[in-house]
């Protein structure tokens, strides 16, 4: 079993829809929870990160962490065609240097 599980999709939604992306994990030591966006043939870029549990909002993006369920989510409101990309969740413990990534979910927002 992988430490981080993510549904690869693909996910296709109409412009303006609310998108929900999720990851589950097995390692209770994870404390940093991140969401990256990766466009085709580009490197991942950090969208948001959360330390420990709770919610964080940044514009149209909201990240949620539920450590009791080992479940994290990213919500995108008013989705735009420019949001079409692969979204990767990633996690890290307090100690060590390794970041553990999910497989990524491919999202297409249709105009």
């Amino acid at each position: 079993q992988k430490e981080v599980e993510q549904d690869p999709g693909p996910l296709s939604v109409p412009e303006g829809a609310i998108v929900s992306l999720n990851c589950t994990y097995s390692n209770s030591a994870f404390q940093y929870f991140m969401w990256y966006r990766q466009y085709s043939r580009k490197g991942p870029e950090l969208l948001m990160y959360t330390y420990s549990s709770g919610n964080k909002e940044d514009g149209r993006f909201t990240a949620q962490v539920d450590k009791s369920s080992k479940y994290i989510s990213l919500f995108i409101r008013d989705s735009q065609p420019s949001d079409s990309a692969t979204y990767l969740c990633a996690m890290k413990q307090n100690t060590g240097n390794q970041f553990y990534f999910g497989t990524g979910t491919s999202l297409t927002v249709i105009p």
């Binding site: 981080v4 993510q6 490197g43 060590g96 240097n97 970041f99 990534f101």
Partner: protein
């Protein structure tokens, strides 16, 4: 300012050849990471440098993989006697600080194809 750059962007190698992949991190960044991203997968950690010191190489899949950062800036990932399973995108990332979580800035990757 300039981001993380990697070269070459694409590399085709015959099985058994040695390859060298280069990463130029953002100037002044202390931490440097190498990842391997297979098709349809997320990045998998390979190794970590703090300045010139390789502090973690637990993700290197075999002793055919070797990384260095001799002057604490540019890094090279070398793969000896390449195999078909080495085909992947190799990503480099750098961050300003070490020892605590910090934003990683990724390069565009080198796509390695082993025939």
């Amino acid at each position: 300012g300039a981001g993380v750059s990697q070269s070459p962007r694409y590399k085709v190698a015959k099985r058994g050849q040695d390859v060298a992949l280069r990463c130029d991190p953002i100037s002044g960044h202390v931490s440097l990471f190498w990842y391997q991203q297979a098709l349809g997968q997320g990045p998998e950690f390979l190794t970590y440098f703090q300045n010139e010191a390789q502090l973690d190489k637990s993700g290197l899949p075999s002793d055919r993989f070797f990384a260095e950062r001799p002057e604490g800036s540019v890094s090279t990932l070398k793969i000896q006697r390449t195999q078909q399973e080495d085909s992947a995108v190799y990503l480099c990332a750098s961050s300003l600080r070490s020892g605590v979580w910090d934003t990683q800035y990724f390069g565009p990757g080198t796509r390695l194809t082993v025939l």
